[in-house]
């Protein structure tokens, strides 16, 4: 008995070292619409380890956002299995396991920047003093110190999105889900925020899942790129992106970067030709 218990303990420790934050097995999701059923996701298999930066990339309609929303328990799968931190997505959501960053900053317009970052902390019943500290810490993390009392409309789009990232980080979740967070921003701001996000990721050691439709953005940020294709939404290919931890912006001109970007582009094209054959 004791030996078995000990074995279980060591196994648990080993699991912890390189545990899967997310496990998806044969997951499908069918939306019932007035035009009939739509296969949003079909036979998805995916594992994400702790500390990884995983990007979902694909054309619109490939289900990348839907997959992210299934992980967040904002959509229910039709079949298949999924665990987040070893629990069902709804249990993980109830335990506040993840922070979610939407396509738009989605700040509440009647709250100041610090009021917006305070929102999840208030919902979670965190004391006023603790809230004040966390607001200050997270605003500093996204370089927004000094903007506490501003209302969202007084900030630029990029600053608003940074505030929304600070809001998602404020309750210190281990997992960060980001749905095309920089899609609405211009390229210069986007480059800058990508750099900042990498630094943030290195500093906080969070697991990040990042939806995008930009190839350079995916290659620049990720440790793993999930290439998806549409109709039905499915995973076409998973590409490892081992560019190392240090990634200055000009890494994007190195042969290694360009090679990975090429593979992603080929993967996307391949996934798409399937669509054209049947169209």
């Amino acid at each position: 008995m004791a030996v078995v218990a000990l074995q279980q303990k060591t196994r648990a420790a080993a699991d912890l070292a390189r545990r899967n934050v997310i496990e998806v097995k044969d997951l499908s999701l069918v939306f019932q619409t007035s035009d009939g059923p739509v296969n949003a996701l079909s036979n998805i298999d995916l594992e994400v380890e702790a500390g990884e930066f995983v990007s979902f990339i694909g054309p619109s309609g490939c289900g990348k956002t839907t997959l992210l929303r299934v992980i967040a328990d904002l959509e229910q799968p039709t079949s298949g299995a999924i665990t987040v931190n070893g629990m069902s997505p709804s249990e993980a959501r109830e335990k506040r396991a993840y922070g979610y960053v939407f396509q738009a900053a989605a700040l509440y317009p009647w709250r100041t920047i610090s009021g917006n970052i305070s929102l999840p902390l208030e919902v979670m019943g965190i004391s006023k003093e603790e809230r004040r500290q966390r607001i200050a810490r997270n605003l500093e993390l996204v370089n927004l110190s000094g903007f506490e009392k501003k209302f969202p409309w007084q900030l630029s789009g990029g600053m608003q999105q940074r505030a929304s990232i600070a809001r998602a980080l404020s309750f210190d979740p281990d997992l960060l889900l980001m749905d095309e967070p920089f899609g609405a921003l211009d390229e210069i701001v986007r480059d800058h925020l990508n750099e900042q996000l990498l630094k943030l990721w290195a500093k906080t050691q969070k697991t990040v899942i990042f939806v995008t439709h930009s190839i350079p953005e995916a290659v620049f940020l990720s440790t793993k790129i999930v290439v998806m294709s549409p109709r039905p939404g499915r995973i076409h290919e998973i590409i490892d992106c081992d560019l190392g931890a240090e990634r200055p912006l000009d890494i994007r001109e190195t042969p290694k970067f360009l090679e990975i970007a090429h593979r992603v582009r080929e993967g996307l094209r391949h996934g798409h030709s399937y669509d054209e054959v049947h169209a």
């Binding site: 967040a72 109830e94 993840y98 939407f102 989605a106 317009p109 009647w110 999840p120 919902v123 409309w153």
Partner: protein
Amino acid sequence: MTEARGPIVQFCFDRVIPVGTILLVIIALWYVFSVVLNAPFERDQAARAGTTIATSQLLHNTMWQERPVLPAPHQVAEEIRKTVFDLRPTSKRSLVYHGAVTLSSTLLGFVLGTLLGILLAVAIVHSRTLDKSLMPWIITSQTVPILAIAPMIIVVLNAVNITGLLPKAIISTYLSFFPVAVGMVKGLRSPEIMHLDLMRTYNASRSQIFWKLRWPASMPYLFTSMKIAVAISLVGAIVGELPTGAVAGIGARLLAGSYYGQTVQIWAALIAAALMAAVLVSLIGIVGSLVNRRMGVRS
């Protein structure tokens, strides 16, 4: 010069000049109509006396009749001045006294109506069943003519010994809950999907979603519908005063005036009611913009 305008000058340009211009046009038209409408009586008088009347005399007479078809603006102004400033506010002929009677039931009815409207909206937004079952009745309630239902309410409440302020206030409530309920249903449902999803990712409770998202999002709708509600509360209070035997209130003044052909008195009461409504609506507008400013709305 233009960019250095002070707030008072700005207010003149924004409000006083445009509104004042229209006011002048209305007064001018009013004079024209009072001459046209009151002239036949003067001509009749002259014809009966077997004389003719000069145009200048006719013009003068039409503006100073004792019981004109349409009293001239200065006659109404004079009546208001007399009944507001010359009489003690406790006098039964004082417009201040009657105004206060109407105002008190208007405000009571408005407060009750607003609360009822908000409660109904909250219930409707949170329950599918209530949305389906209550909404048609709320709309039906407003298709019943208030003039028909007001005496019923007064009579029924009298029978159970509820008299005085409350029955009139209930008629105001009956009218004023409606815009608030409809406006607030829309307001409480106004948050974007993304803002609601955000609350879901925090595993927020229903009451947290209500107080931190739905309620603040509905504020602009609340103040817009409260402006409408306070105006019709006043209408409700006046209608409620008619079947009570015309004891006191603006409604009583209107009724008494029409019994005795006191058109000047009727118009004075009407103008007083309109002024009261304007003041009430602007007060709510001011509160609304104060709340807006606190909530960071761009000015």
